[in-house]
Every structure is written in C-alpha cells, then in structure tokens.
Amino acid sequence: MSSRGGKQKKGNVTSEQEEEEQPLQAVLVADSFNRRFFPISKDQPRALLPLGNVAMIDYTLEFLTSTGVQETFVFCCWMSNKIKDHLLKSKWCRPTSPNVVHIITSDLYRSLGDVLRDVDAKNLVRNDFILVYGDVVSNIDVSQALQEHRHRRKVDKNISVMTMVFKESSPGHKSRCEEDDVIVAMDSKSKRVLHYQKTQGLKKLQFPMNIFQHGSDEFEIRHDLLDCHISICSPQVAELFTDNFDYQTRNDFVRGILVNEEILGNQIHLYVTQDGYGARVSNLQMYDSVSSDMVRRWVYPLTPEANFTDQQGQGCTHSRHNVYRGAEVSLGHGSQMEENVLIGRDTSIGANCHISNSVIGNNCTIGDNVVLDRAHMWNNVHISSNVEIHQSVVCDGAVVKEAVRLNKQCYFSMLPVSQVVIGPNLSLPEGTVVSMHHPEEEEEDDDDEFLSDDQEVGHSKDKTRQKAFNPAEVGPEGKGYIWKASMNDTEDEELAQCLWGLVLNPDPESDSESEASEESQDRSRSVSPEIDDVNAFQLEVLGTLQRGLEENIVCDNLVLEINSLKYAYNITLKEVMQILTRVVLEYPFQQQGTQLTTLQYTGSLLPLLKTWSPVFKNYIKRAQDHLDCLSAVEELFLEQDTHQTAMVKVLMKMYQLEILEEEAILKWFSTGATNDKSRQLRKNQGLQKFIQWLKEAEDESSEEGE
C-alpha cells in the first residue's frame, strides 16, 4: 500500500495545472536483457545495431522527440560506453536539442524491473512518462494516447497506472512478432484491460469468468494487436516495481496488476491505433521485417533520405521503386537495383549484379555478378564476385570470397578488429551463424552478458588465436567459427528460432485445421518434461510409506506429507492417486523382490492395504477418483500379468475396506476396456465371479431397500 501513500503525497504537492506544464519525460531502456542477437550483440549493443544504416536507438529517440518528449533518461547496461559515445556524438546531445538526454549506466540492471526500480530510487520521474525500449521503431503520434491517459487519471483519481500502445494488424502480418502475440480482453468503452495473455505456444486460451461479470456490458477480445512496446506510465509504475521486487518485465507487471486489481485498485488501459507504425526489433525476423517496412516507407517521415539524425554525409536520394542511394555510390555496368534497395555512401558495386530488397551499408565493395536478395549488409563489408546472398545479415567488416552462396537466415557476426572471412567456393546452409567468437568460449564465460566487456574481449581474443579455423566450415581462406551448423538438429533449430524468432506459418488456415489433431500430441508433450518430477514424486511417496510402516506413523501425517510432496513436485491430484495406488501395489515387490508367488504377494499386500486405507480414503472421494484408482490398478496388473489372479483379491479387499465403491467397480468393468489386453483381463474367471457377486449383492441391497 505504500504506492497509495506516494500517490497522495504527489497529488498534494503538485496541483494539476502544474502537472500540465511539466515537461514530458521518457524512459528509454537501451538494453534488451536477452541474447537474441547473439553473437552480434557481443560486440555491439543491440540499440546500436544499424537498421537502414542508422542505429536503432536513433529511431527511438526521434520518435520520442517528435511526440514532444523533452527529457529522456537512457538506461544502458551492456556495453554502456559504446551507447554513451554514440549518444554524445549524436544530435541528441547538442545544446539545441529539444529533447534533453540523460544517460544512466549501471552494470547491475538485469531486467526492465531493475531499471524501473532505479527510476524510483533516484526519483527521476515526476509525472507521466513514456516507457520504450531502445529498439523500437515508430512514428505513432502518442499525444492522443497521452491525452486519454491524463484524462483518465484526472477523472479516476490516479487509478489508471499504465496505457499500452498497440497497433491494429491482422494475424499473419509479417511485422507481428510471434513472441509478442497477445490476446487481450478489454472493456470497449473505457478501454480497460481485463485480461492479458501471451499466446505464444498456447493452443487453448482461458479467460476467468469474473472479468465479464463486472464493469460495463461491452467487451472486446482482440487478437489483432501488434505490441508496439510503447507504454505511457504513471509515476506509480516505478513505485509498484519497487514494491513488487519479483516483477522483471512489463508482462509480469501487467499480469500482476490485473491479478491484484481488486486489492490495489490499479488499472491498465489500452490505446489502439490504426495509423502510424510501431514495432520492436526483438529478433532477427523482426529486424528483417522492420527494415523492409522502413525502406518501403511505412515509417514515414523516418525514411532513409530524411537523414533525421542530421549527420554529415548520411543523406541519400530516393528514386523510383524505393531505391535509395547515398553519396558517391558507384554502380557497375549492367547492374540492377530492382526494388527496395538502400545503399550507403561510398559503396561500389560491380557489373551485372542483381540487388533487391536489401540494405547495404557504407564503404562496402561488391564484386561482379553478385545476387543479393533480402540481404542486410552493414558497413565495410567486402563481397567478391559471383556471390549469392539470400536473407542474411552480414555484419561490419565481413569478407565474403568468391563463389560463396549464403542461403536463408545466415548471419555473421564479427569483432571490429579481426574480421570474418568466408570462402571461396562454399555454400552455407540455412540458419548458419559465423562469428569470430568461438562458441565454446561463450559457454565458458556463460551468461556474463551483463559484465563489463572491455577486459573480457581482450582475453577472449587470446583464446581465439589458439584455436584453428575449420576450413571445411568457412572455406579454405576463411576465418571464423560456425556457431550453429544447420537446422536439422532439434537443438539447433531451437537456437535458430531463438535468433530469428518463430517463422510465421505461411498458411494459417491449415494450421488451424491441424490444431485439433495436434492437441493430443500437445498434451503428451506438455507432460513429458514433468516425467522427472513424477518419478521423483513416486520415489518420495514410496519412501514416505516405508518410513510410515517402520516408524508406525499415523495415516493422517502420511497424508500431510504426501500433500506437501504433491505441491513440491507440482503433481496433479489424479496423478497423486495413481502413483499412490501403484506404489502400494508394488510395495511387496519392492520389499521382497519380484520373484514372489501370487499367494505370497497377496499375503503381504492385503495387510498393507488395511493399514493404509485411511490414506486411500483421503484421496479417493469422487466417482472419477474411483475410476482413476481402478485404472491404476488395472495398469499395474497388466504389467504384472503373472499375478493377475491376485487382482480380484486386491479389489475385494479394497471393496471391503470401503476404499472402492461397487458402482465404480461395475462401471470400470463395463466401460474401461480399451484394448485387447484389458479385455483379456476382464475375462479372468476370478474377476468375472467377483463382479457377479457384486451385482448380486447390489440387487440384494436394492431389494432390501424396497
């Protein structure tokens, strides 16, 4: 409740008119806190990666400035020095800049949560502020959203803490990031977020009923929203992050607020826009699509020829078919720049090249007969003749030798000093990553992405020298290490997906059709990672029961212990019952070996059942539980087929102990048979008799009842 206190204090100190006059502030997080762009991001922080030959952070700052932000706090962590240098040189730090940029660096930030806690600790924001990441490219006019936000805060006494900006875009849009896909339930009138869920990997969505029960009578459930990662936050947001130290991301925050809405009374609102463009470059897939959107002028007026960073010599001209040429570009005879091409200054291109949908940086040289399609080349890249590059990122200073073919989704990362060299005469498969960093070296220094980089780079260079380059991988004259060789291995596929984001399914219709069939697989898949837990749980239950027997512990305490185990291993009630049944029934084998005769088995089992019947009764209550228990029994005896005759006795005993009810047994007997084996089991004479007896008993009792 400390947030409440803070709120009131604020309300008293600043009157509302003053609030209006205060400059608009923004918090820009120039760190992604993930390793999506690894290994590129090892040498260059993500915010400085060039998009259309301009560092991404410049787009974000331009967006903020054009919306009227007058004070921006840039928080950097990884490679903060580089970001700082960049910003100090840029137009944002000129004295005439309308947007005052403060750079705050710390190596201790590990998440968005840390940054906002620091914002609160340093008391930086005094009013509503805009929260963005350093890799957001946008031209959305948020002033409308800002106005709505302020209006809500005025009317509702600071209940609304955050307004998230979303852009409308239908599913399947290439600029939608699969990871950020959300489904949002909102109140149509007040635009209040009622439910917020990321849909990545989910086949089923659940909405709590209570969201539809209060509030107004119009709701929208939307899946056509693109998260722009722009949010307008009240100062309480920072306070709330401080109060809840487990909030790491905005997602945590949103969910936390929604869950605790009733307690804290905070609300989150949504602003959906149709105009403008806004997207976050969160992975290489997004990098590709945002870059192409930018070249296709969706982010107008942030176009390459606008030179909004105001740097000398960065200007370029725009001509038909979205071809942009920087100064001093030379194009050889017969070369064609087909469409959507951006070429930086001082780049020379040889003869008979075909370039389409590509971005080429400054000072690049490209040989003859080169084919580039959806290639992203950064600065100082050297490409020899007869090279083909498709949908790849070629980073600073890379050299691609003759007759190399780069297929989809290759990308090279390199140190600024020593450069990756590829080829000649080589074809790299899809999803290849080549870097001057050795992959193993990476494992050694693990996730020290957050550590200061200077010394580390120095010492990793020494290591690099000791390891030889593999000519089969990078070509006879190649320099560099292959990171992920191909997409065939499952592990690599995950990594490639991690880098590129999820590849959008080209045919969503077939996807939805197959969804139903996939569901069953999906369930088994979702169980599979838990197997270890289940096994561990089974062992623990066994141990507990053993101890219970030895130390003569009361059954109630056993139940208590099993319950706590259930929570520890996150086991469902159904599984608890099945495991318990199984453990008990296997107990004699455990104790006396598997060579028992049926007689010995039943002899030792039946007293045990009697002892533990309270435990069973505790778990077997509903009709479904009975059936589950029975199926567990059946499963066990199907495995131990030599002891099938013992089954009747077990069932009999359980019936007598009132663990199982006769209806359940009858039901199980009549319906449970699903395969040959279990049918076989049901033909067992003893079992038939038992059932017969049960039926008669039932008849009798019913007669008696009459």
Partner: protein, 355 residues
Amino acid sequence: MPGADKEADLTERIEAFLADLKRGGCGTGPIRGSGETARETTALLRKVTAQARWSSAGDLMEIIRKEGRRMTAAQPSETTVGNMVLRVLKIIREEYARSRGSSEETDQQESLHKLLTSGGLSDENFRQHYVHLKANVIEAINELLTELEGTTDNIAMQALEHIHSNEVIMTVGRSRTVEAFLKDAARKRKFHVIVAECAPFCQGHEMATNLSKASIETTVIADAAIFAVMSRVNKVIIGTQTVLANGGLRAVNGTHTVALAARHHSTPLIVCAPMFKLSPQFPNEEDTFHKFVSPHEVLPFTEGEILSKVNVHCPVFDYVPPELITLFISNIGGNAPSYIYRLMSELYHPEDHDL
C-alpha cells in the same frame, strides 16, 4: 554575455524549424499551408539578419545561404522555403547596390546585347561595409512579409474577373488559395463547384465542407469521374504546391488527370498560385521532385499478409506540363505560363539559383 545568449536562441529556433520541416507533412501534406511556411521562413531569416554576426553583405549572404541549404535539405519537397531564401538574398543584393549608389535596376535591364557583352557574371564582392545596410535589409524583409500576408487576399480579389454567374467550376483536392478565391466570388455570384476528392488523402472532402459552409453549391466526385464530368465544366481552378521554372506545376496527385481532361474538352485551366510558390527548379531534377509517403492510406497496415507480397507506393505529387495550363493567377495579376521565366528573373537573382 547577451550576444552569446542571442545566438544560442537563434540556433535553437533554427533547429526547431528544421525539425518541424522534417517531420512536417505526415501523410496529407504540410500541416500548415505553404503561405505560413513562407512567412515563418522569412521571419526566421529576418531574425538571422538581425542577430547573426556579419559585417558586410557578403558575410550575410553566406550565412543566409548556409542556413538556406540546411532548410531546403530538411524537406526538399517544400520549395517555398528555398524560394524565400532566394528572395531574401535578392533583397540583400538590391540593398547593397542601393547603398553603393548604383541602381541595380539598370543592371537588371537585360538585353541580348548585354548578355553577349557581359561575359561572366558580375564580379561584385559585397565586401564593403555600410552602416545602414542592416536596417535597410530588415526593412525590406518586413515589406516582403507584408506582401506575403496579403497574397491570398490579392488573389481572391481577382475572383470576380474570372468566375461568372451560373458557371460550373471544377477543382481538385484542397487549396487554401482556391478556397479563398471561390468564397470571394460567392459573395456576389452564384455558381456550382465540383470537387474531385483526391484519393487517397481525400482532402477534397474538407474543401467541399468548407465551401458548402460558405453556401456555395458543391458536389464531390470520385477521381475516376473527373473525365466524365468535365464536359459540363466551364472552368477548372486549381491550386498548386510549386510553380516550376518552365511554367509547369508540381501539384497534388490527380491534378494531371484533371489537366488532361480539361485539355481534351478545351476547358480553361486556371492555377491560383501566389508568387512565393514560384521556384527556379526544373522538372527534370527527379530526385527531389517526388515525395512518397507511408503507403498506409493506399493499403492499410492492417491488411496483413498481402503486404509482404506486394509493393505499395503512395506518391503525393503530380507534374503538370505547362502546355496544359491556360492561366496563372498570382498576387500580382494573371500571367500565361510562357511568362513565368520573366517573373523568375524579376524575383530571383540568377546567381542565386543554386544555393
């Protein structure tokens, strides 16, 4: 130091103006009219003249040129800015000549003989210092500003000469000048205006609303209907973004269609263009001529998958060749397109054409 303060203030204002220019024109064209841009540019240049440090006309011209280059680079499609810079340069030249005592007027008298004999351009160095130059220049710029403020009215005043009763007039898109022109005529005469909506931005809708508010009988048509309706039209009156040096137009897209339809039906095409829209640019300078904005209006971003399969373009301007234009109406009267070169030499000094 107050001087330093002033200078900082000046650079700040220039930067703000540049940033405005760069961001200006999201989608539908300039947020403010070009008349306002012209006034702002001139006011800013006056401030530069008043506050920058210079001792001679040459220094001042250099400063103005430098700022002018930055301003025009910020938004190449906004030619008004460049035009105003040229006007101010011309003013400085004239004032300098006047201070020297020689009348620039006589030098301006061009003749074939003079062109032949003069050889190169004038070797004036503008280095001499005159005490009153600054005041004179500022005075002249003030005059220019007053002229700019009156342009729309001056043009509107001529409306009655061109619009007669019961005429059917077609216009395209929205132009503040044309709007004022039509409204002025509507005070005395009754006529019918057909507005082509000018997709995809549909500025025509706004134009039609404004006109009907002034109780002018107005009809909005789709761009596709321009040719079909043209046979009923007596006169086409349009605005423009820029008048090019050859007398052609750079106007909102759809204008070329209108002009061609008008030519086919021999309907007179009148262009309302204030003098500050006259640019020394020729239409072959392809790179800066076009302006493509976000394709959002053509195919919305929400369309989804189709966007990755098609290329969408959204150009803003059309080029209208001078032979399709009947008459220009500017604040100083009506002129034929063939006369534009003459106005050009009156307004701008030939040495300044390239900033």
